[in-house]
Symmetry: C2
Subunit: 409 residues, 2 copies
């Protein structure tokens, strides 16, 4: 049964967008996907493919309709380029909600070369700006939900707990100390992360000037690939990336373990990151849609992450379950050797999210799925290939001991 | 005599870029202008022209060479689009300094329509990013000087004095109060200003990851139009904008006074703004070039403004000098009726800037220049035409009394 709410999902063919589209359709939303298929084309560029075979978008939607009786619409357009088509779609569909996944979303890909840096900035900023501009031009009261990243914060400072978007500070105002609440100072770690910090300013401005209702979700690293809906039929299966550019760290470890490759730890594995299972991603989007910011209030910001872990600890856990070896690579990223990360994430929990954590047997499930598709894997594209600076060393062979220096001297 | 320092001036044909190019050439720098002539083409779009007749770029450079013996190079390319041409220019010229004026620089123009909003974001962000990306790709140690705006700060909060880019704050870190210095929280007042806040994050990131040496100049509203160099010959005269999109507020008042149009005050004129004379702009650029940030240090930020004034006060001063009437228009901008603005600007003063202030007879000079070109003026394009939201009232006829409300109800 439709709940009468129309949702436009930009980037609805991708890794987070596809399971979200199915979940919201299943929950009764009238879903239309807008996607230009760029992620599938990037596979061609990178000479890789999703570990899981993914059906064409037409086949995906046909099977979904057949199984559930629910229709998901599909429009092929480029949000960053086809402004007038996007505006027309918005005016015709008159969505209550737009969910915006339509960005280049991999940090290593954004650092591969000047062309990749420039593509990421051009695509992500013009894409986000086109959406905001089109909502204003449409004159419709649409709530925008954007998939951002925990990476906008950098990785914490001096024992601070990372707040959900806004930071209370004290400043001097003519000799008097004044309390302010500011947007958390941006400290992006890659060109990709930087584009999300630019997005945040676009949201700030359009919220202030045009009173757009916007929710920005600062998401952790997604792991897992299956949701109840994607498991309903082989044609609905989600993509699953294992190469070093688009594969996310925990998923890469699980796949590496499944195919007998040592786990690829960068540096000494001292990086602490925030994580969320893909099942929780789709639930969080639903919660965000159902709790939109009221008109006239500031941008609503949630930290969409359920736990934090040090990468070396994750590798140990995966190794204990699977027996996989550890291998250390010179860190291709320009970042501190170790970092702490403590985050606030109470908002989603208070709104009913029941987190799927690492300890619930799902790790083994992922390894099992990965093992099923073992013959599709290209072992050559597992080690890191994209680096943050020209003077950073890449060592595709790796080392048995932690690497504590990554610059060429 | 050349000092052997090569400077690339991006946007060197524009209102600030042209006098800067001449000034630096006169000071012995080897100047090359890069410009795509877009500002001249915008005149065609807006159906207006510079109040002063401006020579073609070829003529400008020919006369400069003739008068001074100094050669200024010129390359016609679009910084936001022609990445590889830009990179080639940088590699061939190997400049010590790049001065970046190559952005759409008018707030009202950026708000005219969705097309203008999108152009401003696309042009300014891709332009700035291309420059940063090309400097990294060139491998050269180039100091970048960027023309930003005081408008990135918004207009002050709770009695604070606006610092030069960085704000000391106290934050809570696990129960302990910690001192940090952060980038001043951005609060842009238009799409144009927003692009400059995005630029600031691009600079932050490239400075952090690639150790680029960058100076960001947060400039106030420029007034005046002549410098010693532009006054040397009619072919060197600077452009002088009087219509409501590109004309800056004090210059508009002075021209309006010269041609017998009432002064166009928006709202009640309660806005306080920062100002700088064009003569000081060119000196500040030279000071910035001669005092670059050392490698490995954060982005250097200067407030490039010499005084602040309330708009109503400026109108009174101009009225007293010239006898011009005052006329109040519904404010096309979405902003507070009144604001305070107190700024720090000690860095340029300490480095030797001797400010040209309003009280030195230069106001009369500008009125006189404007009066000389009276017959070139189109009175129809003086009142405001670009508004910040669709529900903001425009009243081209204006009113004799201050307007304190600008929304359509």
């Amino acid at each position: 049964m439709s709940n009468g709410k129309r949702v436009l999902i930009l980037g609805g063919d991708g890794f987070c967008g596809w399971p979200t589209s199915l979940h919201l359709s299943q929950q009764g939303y009238e879903v239309t996907i807008v996607d230009n298929m760029v992620r599938r084309k990037t596979d061609i560029e990178l000479g890789c493919q999703s570990l899981t075979p993914i059906a064409t978008i037409d086949e995906r939607l046909r099977v979904w309709k057949e199984l559930t009786g629910k229709k998901i619409g599909f429009i092929n357009l480029n949000v960053a380029e086809d402004y007038h088509e996007l505006l027309t779609v918005i005016k015709e569909i008159q969505p209550h909600e737009i969910v915006h996944f339509a960005e280049q979303r991999a940090a290593p890909y954004s650092m591969k070369s000047p062309r990749h840096k420039r593509y990421t900035v051009d695509n992500n900023i013009n894409g986000t700006h086109n959406i905001l501009c089109a909502i204003v031009e449409s004159g419709l009261d649409i709530h925008l939900v954007h998939l951002g990243t925990m990476g906008v914060y950098g990785y914490g400072t001096a024992g601070m707990v990372i707040p959900e978007g806004y930071l209370p500070v004290k400043v001097d105002a003519g000799g008097k100390e004044v309390d302010l609440e500011i947007m958390y100072p941006a400290n992006p770690g890659s060109i990709y992360h930087m584009t999300k910090t630019l997005d945040a300013l676009l949201f700030y401005y359009y919220n202030k000037n045009d009173e757009l209702r916007i929710t920005d979700l600062h998401q952790g690293i997604v792991w897992g690939m299956a949701t109840p809906e994607t498991m309903m039929h082989p044609a609905l299966v989600n993509r699953f990336d294992y190469e070093s550019d688009y594969g996310t760290v925990l998923n890469r470890f699980l796949i590496q373990a499944a195919v007998g490759h040592p786990l690829t730890i960068y540096g000494n594995g001292g990086q602490t990151r925030a994580f969320i299972h893909i099942r929780d991603t789709v639930r969080c989007i639903q919660i965000a849609i159902e709790n939109p910011a009221p008109k006239g209030q500031r941008v609503k910001i949630f930290n969409q992450a359920t736990e934090t872990h040090r990468v070396s600890k994750l590798a140990e856990i995966v190794s204990q379950i699977t027996g996989a070896e550890l291998r250390y690579y010179s860190n291709p990223r320009n970042e501190a050797l170790d970092n702490e990360l403590v985050i606030h994430n109470e908002q989603f929990l208070q709104l009913g999210l029941n987190p799927t954590t690492l300890s619930e047997g799902l790790l083994e499930d992922v390894v099992e799925i990965a093992a099923n598709y073992k013959d599709r894997i290209n072992m050559g594209i597992i080690p890191p290939v994209s680096r943050w600076r020209e003077d950073i060393r890449l060592d595709p062979a790796g080392s048995d001991v932690p690497v504590t220096d990554n610059r060429i001297h």
